[in-house]
Amino acid sequence: QDEAQAIDQELFTEYKFSVDQLMELAGLSCATAIAKVYPPSSFTTSRPAVLVVCGPGNNGGDGLVCARHLKMFGYEPTVYYPKRPSKPLFEGLTTQCQKMDIPFLPEFPAEPALIDELYGLVVDAIFGFSFKGAVREPFGSILSTLGHITVPIASIDIPSGWDVEKGKADGLQPDMLISLTAPKKAALHFEGRFHFLGGRFVPPALQEKYALNLPPYPGTECVLQLT
């Protein structure tokens, strides 16, 4: 977890990347990976409806970007974003989604069965690699409901609620994980079918410095399938 935070810091302070830049590339990777594994034509619901659940931090921001690109790729995303930071970055991302007719739910579906009926996929963009400590409401109940749905879950960077290094045996079990920049230790405990790498922006020098040993991305793709 410390290393992931150090890499992030270096990208922002030494390399002068903006959060906006990296978040955009991260969100695009997530949407791209999802489109590769769950193309719109594969949905059993009448329309390719996706529920994107966004948390209170950067992982939530990644989710907003992802939702926007999913819309561009022909999906019908709906966002649930209960705790919104009052920062221009997140306000901007929210506006971009709203202006693209992406609905924001006023409340979270109460029953797992409702989610299964309405959506073909859920994107978990609640907590990321900075997550520590206890899960605060409303996310505790959300995670509990998500634990009982049958449609696949795609988690951005870390399955929400997991310890970033040790995982969580009784926590969320997503079908897909999109690790951003590099897989975190928790990914060792991932048991879903699809593990992708995204966030193709790490300069070669930084990869070396932290001995990331990332396998090469194919061609100009912004995602790499690891399993």
């Binding site: 002068k16 561009m72 061609g219």
Partner: protein
């Protein structure tokens, strides 16, 4: 928004030189900044870009783009005013292609001002392919001035759906897959469909 067109038109294995070198010529405004972002992604895609950015923008965002490139070891040719590093033969010999990110569609006023004019007259004489971002840079973008001077037809790229263009262009891509539908409708843009999750679509390719 990144611009990965060069690999589609000029994939790494097809390049004539041993090193996958590309010269990215960046003008002083937004078109130049797009060039900087393009150079960074080319580096990630394992090309060896070199930047020529003689007149730098004071915009902090664009200055950050410059830092990102420098920190990724993308060399910047020195813009000495007396000796223009852009010598035609040097370019032909050292690079596989040139990315023209000098002037964009909005640049009516900047044309003719140094160092753009000198750069553009050098680019008219080179023999290697040119990829222009949005419009081929130059005083009369609507004419075929580049083609008429005997340069190879340039591939080009439009951040927004195609502007009208005449002349010998071998590849034409549209990029900038970020326009919301209501903006597309409002301006009657009718962009083509992008394939799958691609962020560029070829409007024209050589047979």
């Amino acid at each position: 928004c990144h611009v990965p067109v060069s690999p589609q038109a000029f994939p790494l294995p097809s390049l004539p030189r041993k090193q996958p070198t590309v010269l990215v010529v960046c003008g002083p405004a937004q078109n130049g900044a797009i060039g900087l972002v393009c150079a960074r992604h080319l580096r990630i895609f394992d090309y060896e870009p070199t930047i020529f950015y003689p007149k730098r923008s004071p915009d902090p965002l664009y200055q950050d783009f410059t830092t990102q490139c420098e920190k990724m070891d993308i060399p910047n040719l020195l813009p000495t005013l007396c000796v223009c590093p852009l010598k035609v033969q040097l370019i032909n010999d050292a690079y596989n292609a040139v990315v023209d990110a000098v002037l964009g569609a909005e640049a009516e006023a900047a044309e003719g001002r140094e160092p753009c004019a000198a750069i553009l007259s050098t680019l008219k004489l080179i023999r290697i392919p040119i990829v222009s971002l949005d419009v081929p840079s130059g005083p009369t973008p609507r004419s075929a001035s580049l083609g008429q001077d005997g340069t190879p037809p340039p591939p080009r790229l439009s951040p927004c759906p195609a502007q009208h263009h005449h002349g010998l262009i071998a590849w034409h891509f549209v990029a900038g897959r970020f326009l919301p539908y209501d903006v597309q409708k409002k301006f009657e843009l009718n962009p083509p469909e992008y394939p799958g999750t691609e962020c560029v679509v070829a409007l024209r390719a050589p047979r």
